[in-house]
Amino acid sequence: MTAFLDVVIGGVFHAAVLFLVAAGLQLVFGVQKIVNLACGSFYALGAYFGISAVSWCLARGMPPAYFLPVLIVAGILVGLIGPFIEALLLTVYQRDEAFQLLLTFALVLMFQDVLRFFWGADPQQLGDLVMTYGRVKVGALQVPTYNLLVIAASVVIAAGLGAFLQKTRFGRILRATAENREMSLALGVNVRWVYASVFTLGTMLGTVGGALVVPTAAASLDMPVELVVEAFAVVVIGGLGSMRGALAGALVVGLLRAAAISWYSELEMLAIYLVVIGVLVLRPGGLFGRPLE
């Protein structure tokens, strides 16, 4: 029972972070029709920047307990690189997907060295800050409160994102543009502005995700390329372009991975790819996606 609970909590925590990155990926794919390989790089950027921001604040006498808000603000701030990168993507919107993928692949290569330049090749860590929030007893388990806070933050963001997309005027414009770009243009929607804001929002989801995970795991240069495949698995399982799909996919991948790690660690990523292939074979559109062709 305890082992099971451990897997569930670990899995949901991982899912909470994955969801943020995958939601960014979905948003950008849904509206701009671009699969962004660089989403993992944004995640890593958020992680590294988060570490620097917290260390900077701590050095200026900030009480350790404030590190969570600092991380979130740091994630949002560094997400402001979004519009600049979107300006680059402008050149490939109407082009073949191969070029879109290659352009974001180029960004992955470049970010790898940008991270190395600013933070060096060694993995970076945030020390023991997680414990400043103490632990909570769940059954027979001692779970760091921080992990539960991250899960809560992710749920709040998910709900906020849902409400934003469904209820607000801008959310409706956004969905309309995703549905039919030409028609939105004809109706006077400023598509340039929509694209720039969607991409920035997507970037921020990734950077905030990275910033939130960093107190529990080291930031390393392998982070971006490793996360991309997980985020890909999430969106394929859930269905490309679907927010609910991102949520379901993140839970599947998070739980599966936690289960595999604790019971049969050889299967860690293997199990995820098998599920991805299974989903693509049986339900090509993903759990919540539209059927293809």
Binding site: V35, L101, L270, Y273, I277, L280
Partner: protein, 319 residues
């Protein structure tokens, strides 16, 4: 005209060991290996219009095939190694292809990426079978039955092995040339240009895609086996998705619209990377920057650029 140019290029590659230092010749070897792999890749990408983002899978099968056969099973004949690795690669490609060719565009890319990563995590995690992250050593194979035991490693690589690979590239390029200019190749282009129309005309689209996929897997494995013999090691990085990305990078660098584009791409990528690595530790950044320039300004790659300059040259000099 093109054939003449190809022959001249081939002759140039053949005399390289007499001109270049052994170090640079060992750089040409991976370029030859990638040329072979990319000729196959471009049958899929350039001619059939399917972008695989997991093609490193087949390169890795070739590499591990050479490793397992030479150091675990004691098979030393390189011809047998090539045949068996390429055969294994095709055997893997057929079931994957049966699934993947139902899709095009991004879904084809993601599905192939998933299969590539599946193989990577198998190689990485099943330490007892695959040697984990260190991989498996590749022993020096015999070429056409000759072991060349009197030569040291570098002399062997830049000597017999080099010429062997040049010959292999020439043969495989010739076969590929015949393939893409045969009715089969035209079928592939037709399915790329207009799938529906091709179907109405009776082209079995999925069947043709599957064949193209299998042939590209065959070429990929041969390239992979050469790569692994050259480095003396097969490791999981061969199957990682960034390696697949590099394959696409090389093809676009050379230009996928031209038959020889991938070969141009392989050679220029290897030498570009070698130069950048020598100049700066931040070579990935510049590689990425070059890729962006390429995508934005010269999507037809180096071969497209030369074609355009050639055309302009002919227009400006009236004859």
């Amino acid at each position: 005209m093109r054939i003449a140019a190809a022959l001249v290029a081939l002759a140039a590659v053949a005399v390289l060991p007499n001109v270049l230092s052994p170090y640079h010749v060992t750089l040409v070897l991976p370029a030859l290996a990638y040329s072979i792999a990319l000729l196959g890749f471009n049958l899929l990408f350039g001619y059939t219009g399917l972008l695989s983002f997991g093609h490193a899978l087949f390169v890795a099968i070739g590499g591990y095939g050479a490793a397992v056969l030479s150091s675990k099973l004691g098979l030393r004949s390189f011809e047998a190694i090539l045949a068996l690795s390429a055969g294994a690669s095709v055997a893997v490609a057929i079931p994957i292809g049966l699934l993947a060719v139902r899709y095009v565009k991004i879904f084809f890319g993601i599905l192939t990426l998933a299969f590539g990563m599946l193989f990577h995590s198998f190689l990485f995690k099943f330490y007892d079978l695959t040697g984990g992250d260190t991989g498996i050593r590749v022993l020096r194979p015999s070429l056409l039955g000759r072991a060349y035991e009197d030569l040291d490693k570098t002399t062997w690589l830049v000597g017999p092995f080099y010429y062997y690979c040049v010959a292999l590239l020439a043969i495989l390029a010739f076969v590929m040339w015949r393939l893409v200019h045969s009715p089969f190749g035209l079928h592939l282009v037709a399915t790329r240009e207009n799938r529906r129309k091709a179907e109405y005309l009776g082209v079995r689209v999925r069947f043709f895609r599957l064949i193209a996929f299998s042939i590209s897997a065959f070429y990929g494995a041969i390239g992979g086996a050469i790569l692994a013999v050259n480095t003396g090691q097969a490791d999981p990085e061969l199957a990682y998705w960034t390696h697949s990305g590099e394959l696409v990078f090389m093809t676009v660098l050379g230009g996928f619209g031209n038959f020889f584009g991938p070969v141009v791409g392989a050679f220029s990528f290897i030498f570009l990377k070698d130069q950048l690595v020598g100049l700066t530790q931040y070579w990935r950044f510049w590689l990425g920057a070059i890729l962006i320039l390429l995508v934005v300004l010269f999507p037809r790659g180096l071969s497209g650029l030369t074609e355009r300059m050639w055309a302009r040259l002919h227009r400006s000099t009236p004859s």
